[in-house]
């Protein structure tokens, strides 16, 4: 057991951290978010060149990282700058390609930053369920015909290609019968409606109407995609949780600084115990989140993955919300303004609860996993 990063991983973290510090202040971030595409191609290309995308994938698929801790350190730093470039979408779609060992050329382009992908799995009625897929893919000859709707596809409006889940057999909630397809975003019948999210990112509702793709579009085995979807979901949950920690770090730093400088009743408000003790609790919860992140990152490829990932997301949802709200409350009125940065960090932390399952969703999952483990223990 060891709780220190390798030199290489520390360098990776420092490199992304330096980029955020030197080139990505909050005004730049807002400008990128407000641009037509909702992010900067220039910054994306720069980070791709630095190898930040490649760090998210393992060596056997052409990357140079891919461990849970690689994802964690990169996304923590991205979170500290509220970076809007499409890392999450490409991590998700790329993980599906890597897991299935298919479409190596696309994955290579993804890591180079030259092709943008998005992960089109969620649907209007699926909420956080992974096996609720109503989109259909009918096979006819050597082709598939896709019909359905995909919801809140992160960075879906700027993607060149989409990884789409669709049902090739079974009922709409059956674990079996889900397949993944790689389709061009400009294929006939793909209708993309992009929009901003409340925290400054971009997403899209995507309608698929008689979209015809060749059999080569299939990712992995037909009907067997759920295991890949779970893997993608775990990587994504880890990533956004790390991002939340990065945002929490900034929120706490800003709040602490404010407590030391803002004066009321003739003294810095940090002299008031009512605020000190809440701040102390926030510091403690932040360490807890970091520990849960370490646990989940360390188990991303182990049999204890699901429990640890859900524990992380539950804690990020629960403790993260409290920290996000306290950052605003302890600042007072200034945090309610657009101009002051802390509110944007709070928004991101809160919205992360809506990605890959919120606090309650993951608590339910932990209960189910516990019940399943207890049942197995009773049987054996």
């Amino acid at each position: 057991m060891d709780f220190t990063h390798t030199d290489e991983r520390q360098m990776l973290a420092d490199m992304v951290g330096r980029f955020v510090r030197d080139q990505y202040d909050i005004e730049t971030r807002h400008a990128n978010a407000a641009s037509d595409e909702g992010f900067s191609r220039e910054h994306w290309g720069q980070l791709a060149e630095l190898g930040v995308i490649g760090a998210l994938f393992s060596e056997d698929v052409g990357g140079f990282g891919g461990a849970g801790f690689d994802i964690a350190v990169v996304f923590e730093q991205l979170g500290s700058g509220l970076v809007v470039e499409p890392f999450l979408a490409n991590l998700l779609a790329g993980t599906a390609l890597a897991a299935s060992n298919s479409h190596a050329d696309t994955l290579e382009e993804l890591m180079a930053g030259s092709t943008l992908l998005a992960w089109a799995h969620g649907e209007p009625a699926s909420r956080y369920s992974l096996n609720q897929v109503e989109t259909t893919a009918e096979k006819s000859g050597s082709e598939f015909r896709l019909n359905g709707n995909k919801a809140v596809v992160i960075s879906g409006d700027t993607a060149d290609k989409l990884v789409v889940s669709a049902r090739t057999s079974g009922d709409s909630d059956a674990p079996e019968g889900i397949s993944l397809f790689l389709i061009p975003a400009d294929a006939e019948g793909v209708h993309v409606r992009g929009y901003p999210t409340v925290d400054g990112y971009r997403a899209a509702e995507i309608a698929l109407k008689d979209v015809v793709v060749p059999a080569e579009a299939l990712i992995g085995e037909e009907g067997q995609a759920l295991a890949i979807i779970e893997q993608v979901n775990a990587a994504g949950t880890l990533a956004v949780s790390a991002e939340a920690l990065g945002a929490i770090n900034v929120g706490i730093d800003m709040t602490l600084e404010y407590l030391k400088t803002r004066k009321q009743f003739g003294v810095p408000i940090g002299k008031f115990q009512a605020l000190q003790h809440r701040m102390a609790d926030m510091m403690t919860e932040r360490e807890q989140i970091r520990s849960a992140l370490i646990n989940a990152a360390g188990h991303l490829h182990s049999s204890e993955r699901n429990w640890n990932v859900s524990a992380l997301k539950n804690l990020v949802g629960r403790a993260g919300r409290n920290i996000a709200e306290e950052c605003i409350q302890m600042h007072g009125g200034i945090a309610m303004t657009w101009e002051y940065a802390v509110g944007h960090y709070s928004k991101r932390i809160i919205m992360i609860d809506h990605l890959f399952g919120d606090e309650d969703h993951h608590l339910r999952r932990i209960i189910k996993l516990g019940a399943a483990a207890a049942a197995t223990a009773t049987v054996t």
Binding site: L256, A280, Q288, N295, I367, G370
Partner: protein, 398 residues
């Protein structure tokens, strides 16, 4: 970063596991598991077994005869011991006084006292709090006046845990009244057989005799029993408190308590089904498990970060808060799991040899008493509010 045990750590875990399997007397572990009261003899026996095996002071630095165990080794020992039903080692001499003597004591004090802590000759208790000095410890009043080669002690200490079994007490005493209150405090070692020392029991709210008052009336103590320098005791006191807090996360205890709670929740029925299957209960339990899993890692990170032998920093205050609140929430949920059978309490049933039929389920009797007893944990060792003050001051600069 690597969450897997190294081969060495695996081997060590196996060694520890077989030690508890072979050497922990069933007579003791059955009491611990059933939450029966341990006698002084039980505690001394276990202390001696640990000492023979070399585990009693394994966390001490090697220069003082320890093995210099790191955070992971301590975690394994803690978790395995609690799972096996090992009693908590009485910490006052071993984990609190000993580090102070190693850092600030004279060679004579070290060579006299450290071996006697290990072989059980001296049972130490702690003389810190006074009736008027709880959270504001530096306001303490017990006086020590130098007369020739002796100090004459007068005053009162309180909350002295297991003072009824102890034969030595380390005390914070006032030797100076100049300057800030912290500046006139000294650290004194007192043989409790000295005339003028009197121990009086305090009965806790659940009816147990765990703590005491210790009164000092013209107690004459050799000047050689002063630790370090006169009026520098506050520094040593704080050093001790950080060590006191270093095991405070109570990970092993919490894990064992959760196992016990799960057992109860499978036995108890709600609408004909196991309580464990009730969504509300399951949610409360799952949340505690999430927090505990994170705290185990937080504990190891903080302990690991403290360099070998050096005391951990103010981060320990976070462990104190989290560890105590978590265990209290386990106690709370265990009590609620019992329903009406949380109420009966037959104190004598906690003694070994009580042979009458239990009232309600056999695990029910100690639960509520345990719940009330554990309210102390967020008060002692520097209340959780004091810990928040420490975090504010030391970590945040507020």
């Amino acid at each position: 970063m690597d969450l897997n045990y190294t081969p060495e750590e695996q081997a060590y875990q196996a060694e520890i596991r077989s030690f508890f399997a072979d050497k922990l007397p069933t007579e003791i572990s059955s009491k611990v598991k059933a939450k029966k009261r341990l006698t002084k003899q039980d505690m001394e026996n276990w202390h001696a077994i640990l000492n023979t095996a070399g585990y009693l002071n394994a966390h001490w630095p090697e220069e003082f005869g320890g093995k210099g165990w790191n955070a992971i080794q301590r975690d394994i020992f803690d978790v395995e011991g609690n799972a096996a039903g090992a009693p908590r080692v009485v910490p006052f001499g071993l984990n609190m006084l000993a580090p102070v003597l190693m850092a600030f004591g004279s060679k004579e004090q070290q060579s006299f006292h450290l071996p006697r802590i290990l072989d059980g000759t001296n049972w130490w208790c702690q003389g810190y709090s006074e009736p008027g000095s709880g959270s504001d410890l530096a306001s303490l009043k017990m006086s020590a006046v130098r007369e020739g080669d002796e100090y004459v002690l007068n005053g009162q200490k309180t909350w002295t845990t297991l003072g009824q079994y102890a034969n030595w007490i380390f005390c914070l005493v006032r030797t100076g009244k100049e300057g800030k209150p912290q500046e006139g405090i000294s650290f004194m070692l007192v043989d409790m057989d000295t005339p003028g020392v009197e121990v009086r029991p305090i009965i806790l709210l659940e009816g147990t005799h765990e703590v005491n008052e210790v009164w000092f009336t013209d107690v004459r103590v050799p000047a050689a029993n002063l630790v370090g320098e006169e009026n520098k005791g506050w520094t040593y006191a704080k050093y001790l408190l950080v060590h006191e807090r270093s095991g405070i996360a109570g990970v092993g205890d919490a894990l064992a308590s959760i196992d016990h709670l799960k057992h109860i929740a499978r036995e108890q029925k709600l609408d004909g089904k196991p309580l464990a299957e009730d969504p509300m209960f399951a949610a409360r339990l799952a949340e505690i498990e999430v927090d505990l899993s994170a705290m185990r890692t937080t504990n190891m990170r903080i302990m690991q970060a403290a360099s070998d032998g050096a005391p951990p920093g103010p981060e320990v205050s976070m462990l104190k808060i989290k560890g105590t609140v978590l265990r209290q929430s386990i106690n709370d949920l265990t009590r609620r799991a019992l329903g009406p059978y949380a109420m009966p309490f037959v104190s004598e049933a906690l003694e070994m040899g009580y042979n009458e039929e239990p009232i309600g389920p056999d695990y029910a009797n100690p639960v509520s008493a345990d719940y009330f007893n554990h309210r102390k944990t967020s008060i002692y060792g520097g209340s959780n509010e004091i810990q928040r003050n420490i975090i504010s001051k030391m970590m945040m600069g507020l």
